[in-house]
């Protein structure tokens, strides 16, 4: 198991943090100054839904080293961090691109050659680890992962219920150094709202020590106040707001645009042909050669984003 951060120091750090209600808008590049070598970076959304790709691309540009990446279900972004030599460890329950694309070739390469660690938990296991971190307790009890080899490999401990004597799995709190989240909108102070399902973003962000949120749109605080039940994070739980329209592309953003499966095809074909070099070629072409994520989006085939918006209109309730 990865070295767990003591939940007490996480709390004391929060108490000591500057959490003033300021205008927290900044560029993705500026926001990445909150990420340091050796950090544990949690990535919001799941698989190819509401992945904070604008932030992921900005982080890739920094070439930070020795990162630990955590995510409920990883997509190709995990491979990019490995191919770029930035990550030592991925904490997740599932690695892949999506069912359609088969086994993830780059993750396989790095894990099978011993160059990278894939620390595997169950999906609920990860979820309860973030939740314990968000709740400010060092563990949460559950009836999952028991008896399995994944429990053994992560050295999962157990706890006896003091009332019933029932033996339970004890999921240790996971408090990322930084959480990267993509959301539908926020005000300049960081009152963040999402539509649709919430993945594990709420617990992940509240558990994290620093929180960077990219949003499709910055709105007025009055607009936030008009829909207060869609707020997932209050301003005092957010450190940086990055305006990034289509900031989840090629992931989907619920209700707004569909995932671009052809872009994943392109990536998968590239790594099928060239292995890790293909992933690095992807980074060189799509990340490094653009000043920012908007530049990447502008380089897509004409009509790409319009088509994804139209597809979402057909699908959303």
């Amino acid at each position: 198991m990865s070295a767990s951060v003591d939940f007490r120091s996480v709390r004391w750090e929060l108490e000591a943090t500057d959490r003033r209600m300021l205008d927290k808008r900044m560029s993705a590049t500026q926001a990445m100054e909150l990420v340091h070598d050796g950090d544990h970076v949690a990535i919001g959304g799941t698989l190819y839904s509401r992945t904070p790709m604008a932030l992921v691309f900005a982080l890739l540009k920094t070439r930070r080293r020795h990162l630990t990446i955590s995510r409920p279900l990883t997509c190709y972004e995990a491979e990019l961090f490995y191919a770029a030599g930035m990550a030592d460890r991925v904490i997740t329950s599932w690695i892949g691109i999506g069912l359609k694309w088969g086994l993830p070739q780059i993750m396989r390469h790095y894990v099978e050659t011993g160059q990278a660690v894939y620390e595997e938990w169950s999906h609920l296991g990860i979820g309860l680890r973030y939740k314990a971190g968000a709740m400010g307790v060092p563990f949460l009890p559950a009836l999952t992962m028991l008896g399995s080899d994944i429990a053994r490999t992560v050295e999962l401990r157990e706890v006896d219920c003091p009332y019933t004597g029932q033996r339970l799995a004890a999921l240790p709190a996971l408090n990322p150094d930084v959480a990267l989240i993509h959301a539908h909108r926020s005000d300049i102070y960081g009152n963040v709202q999402v539509d649709g399902y919430r993945h594990m973003d709420v617990d992940m962000a509240r558990a994290a020590r620093r929180v960077i949120v990219s949003v499709e749109q910055i709105v007025s605080s009055d607009e936030i106040r008009a829909l207060p039940t869609t707020t997932i994070l209050p301003h005092f739980a957010v450190d940086a707001i990055v305006e990034a329209p289509f900031g989840a592309y090629p992931s989907e953003c619920y209700g707004l645009y569909h995932a671009d499966l052809r872009h994943f095809d392109e990536y998968v074909n590239l790594v099928k042909a060239k292995g890790p070099d293909g992933a690095r070629e992807y980074i060189a072409e799509h990340v490094d050669q653009h000043d920012d994520f908007a530049g990447f989006l502008a380089s897509l085939p004409p009509g790409t984003l319009d088509d994804l918006v139209a597809a979402a209109k057909r699908l959303a309730p």
Binding site: T46, H123, V202, L315
Partner: protein, 261 residues
Amino acid sequence: MSRQDVTPEEIVAITASRMLADHKVVFAGVGTPLLAAALARRRQAPHLTIVLEGGIIGTRLMPGHLPISTNEMSAAHGAEMLTDVTDIFLFAQRGFFDYGFLGAAQIDKFGNINTSVIGSYAQPRVRLPGSGGANDIISLCNEVLIATVHEPRRFVEKVDFITSPGYLTGEKSREAAGLIFGRVSVVITDLALMDFEPHSRRLRLCAVQRGASVEQVEAATGFELLMADEIGEIDPPSEDELDTYRLLRDGEAAVRRGRAS
């Protein structure tokens, strides 16, 4: 594809779909489980509630647009409730989900499933995607169905790694590990239907698919299968089952094309 060219995947999904009773709640993953659940809703189980781990309860699937991820927008189409991933699994832990529905890269005679590594964990020959929600589903749902194609490399004496615990080493070992809820009830393949003998908790052949023999099943299984007192025979996919299944999978247009060809 004509009605004659029934694929192993179709046989598995259609047989599995028949196991789902009306008015129940099924926690399905994408692929075969979701197709089987969608098919059941079109046939004997119109009130079956499909739950997906993305946080989706009561999805209405659009033929030809079945999601390839449990948390993409098409998976949420027509849902009665949207919540988050952890919450969905906590519903399972409380006991709300009648069925959990899993595939398997490797499965052993006690129903343990491996979707993590082929070879050793430290130095795997093949690093598979991992548990996802499978470990939670098999640990927490009331009844778990396993559906897979039947191959000797899948049905192994001992899985390389227990990602998702079935009956562990048999007898009462599952309960002893703290897994006091849920049970793995059946394994459904393109060759056979199997359950678990109640005392030893070893995999037991109950029925074969029409056209398959007991010997064929045994040859495709890398360990000794127990035998039920009577071995039944499973009806092959009906025309309506196949048509509906393909409609769901491929959509109206593709099915029309298939019929015309």
